[in-house]
Symmetry: C2
Subunit: 339 residues, 2 copies
Amino acid sequence: MAPTLKDVAAHVGVHPSTVSRVLRGKENLKISAKTHDKILKAVKELNYIPDFTARALRMKKSFTIGLIVPDILNPYFARIARRIEQLGFEKKYTVIVCNTDEDQQKEILFLNQLISRGVDGIIIAPVQDSKEHIVDVIDKNIPLVLIDRIFEDINVNSVITNNAESVMKAVTHLVKLGHKRIAFLRGQKNIYTIKNRLAGYKEALKEFNLSLIDNYIVGEGFEFEDGYEATLKLLALPKLPTAIVSSGGDLVTLGAIKAIYEKGLKIPEDISIIAFFDSLYSPFLATPLTTITHYRQKIGEKAFKLLLKQIESSKDMQAKTICVDTKFELRDSTAKPKN
Amino acid sequence: MAPTLKDVAAHVGVHPSTVSRVLRGKENLKISAKTHDKILKAVKELNYIPDFTARALRMKKSFTIGLIVPDILNPYFARIARRIEQLGFEKKYTVIVCNTDEDQQKEILFLNQLISRGVDGIIIAPVQDSKEHIVDVIDKNIPLVLIDRIFEDINVNSVITNNAESVMKAVTHLVKLGHKRIAFLRGQKNIYTIKNRLAGYKEALKEFNLSLIDNYIVGEGFEFEDGYEATLKLLALPKLPTAIVSSGGDLVTLGAIKAIYEKGLKIPEDISIIAFFDSLYSPFLATPLTTITHYRQKIGEKAFKLLLKQIESSKDMQAKTICVDTKFELRDSTAKPKN
DNA sequence: TTGAAACAGACAATCGTTTGCATTAAATAT
DNA sequence: ATATTTAATGCAAACGATTGTCTGTTTCAA
């Protein structure tokens, strides 16, 4: 079996605690250079690898953090996760990624599982069907950071993006091109980001004195099919919109594009589209998409740093909400409307 | 603090071991229905959550598996990872994902870290600069499954795809269209998959009596830039290829497309391309790509099941190598050559 | 009525570390 | 030469579960 501290100690003829101290390094307890060296040599020789589990139990610190997101296949969350994992690696933390698939029950299960595993902190983009389970975690004094989606009435560290503003910018762009009938392809309704994007949409319409048409707001989920069906509905209206703002991300947008093509419409000649979309692929699409892009690495970074600070500070810190900018990337999917 | 077994026991007036047995359920030790119920009630009341760390230490079983891949941002690995995580969830296993960025040193570090954390098993797509560290793990009797990339001289459970054949199919398709000058955009040289794809390429050329032109084999990595630069080199040759087989995945292929467009060439009119590429985006590209697609979920599934069997079987099992098919998806990026 | 079998649960060791405290030996001060 | 620091290490108790063994009751057959 794998050698333990005791084995190393026996090999050198010294007490396990001494070995531990040498390995941990810190403490002001002095160990003679001679035993110090002998121990290190023995560690090498036996190829001793410390047992994190035992250490975690004893120290009540696991050097593990949990990351709960809807779906890591979504490039948005993938990038964020990757950055968090990267930073974690630098700081000796391991990240456990959990995918909820927008399922509240799973979220609760994961949360409990993570707590059970004694994670030092949690970063979560919650499903937002309810929030009690999140509050519970916070009450347990487990460091937690919300990303992307926050509960406005909970005082907790969070990182968000400026959803409303970015949509306003998009609508403004469209209006300046001459669009008057702008639709909003939503994504899942009850999610913070979507609600805010919708709010931005409405606000922009108001600013430009455009009337809000209920039928122009469609979409109920984040999947390809959701975008496809919603857009079909949109394109079946008597009075077609001349532009669409797609706020549901990659899958929804691809679904929308499929629907548009199927109806024999062209982008941007017949219909303009601005989307929240991954910028890696968008330049290569049939019509390179004009997009709203997130600085996803930055989001991951801010979140990790907030969490780390919270983990490392003994007294509770003042909760903070950081807002990360978005970028408007003009490509070819927007043009003047025909009529 | 969080209640422990002891707290629950004290609350009921019973010994911790009894609580443990009730909670674990198994064993044939009988517990009276009365205490059984009292304990469950107390567990609810105190909101007791078992400590996995302690359990793992005692049982030498962490219900954790490690997954080491080059980069989870790559949709290929993302899908595999997602499936593994999903199956893990069903079987109560947590998955720790590590990204090596094709860096051997990182791989070794991760491997040690995972072992240190006492994972029950490891699934890995190795960097393949060397293999000693992998052999070490196997020698430690830690269940391990290789995916995507194997070492042919190590006897260990693995899941691969039929690289050579799939490329042969691709080349055959091109030859039948009339292509004679087919280039091979490689990806990183020393990787098992790439070596095999290249072998398939060569074999196919031989089969059709086409001469192997060294200059037609290019590419040194898996990044966007690698594909871009390599393709530029290709397009600077006096005698241009009429088709490219891109074996390096999404990024490399996008880089290639960029280079092709920049040179003012059209796909497929001027040059055909078949790529190993994510099928979600490919239908929507400027020219929908003809692709070789992996059943990534299946790969994840096979790998997980192999690992699980290995974890659960006490005696060592016969190592197996499973090969998963690929799918050839015909779209618009291939056509007859001009001349 | 007694002895054995079956029940229900307690005890204590253990997993591999870390860490406060105690102890010894050496060094320095008085 | 003795008292006092200080350096270097040992001791043992945690951390929170699991599990083999032991003990004290019942139950029931003979």
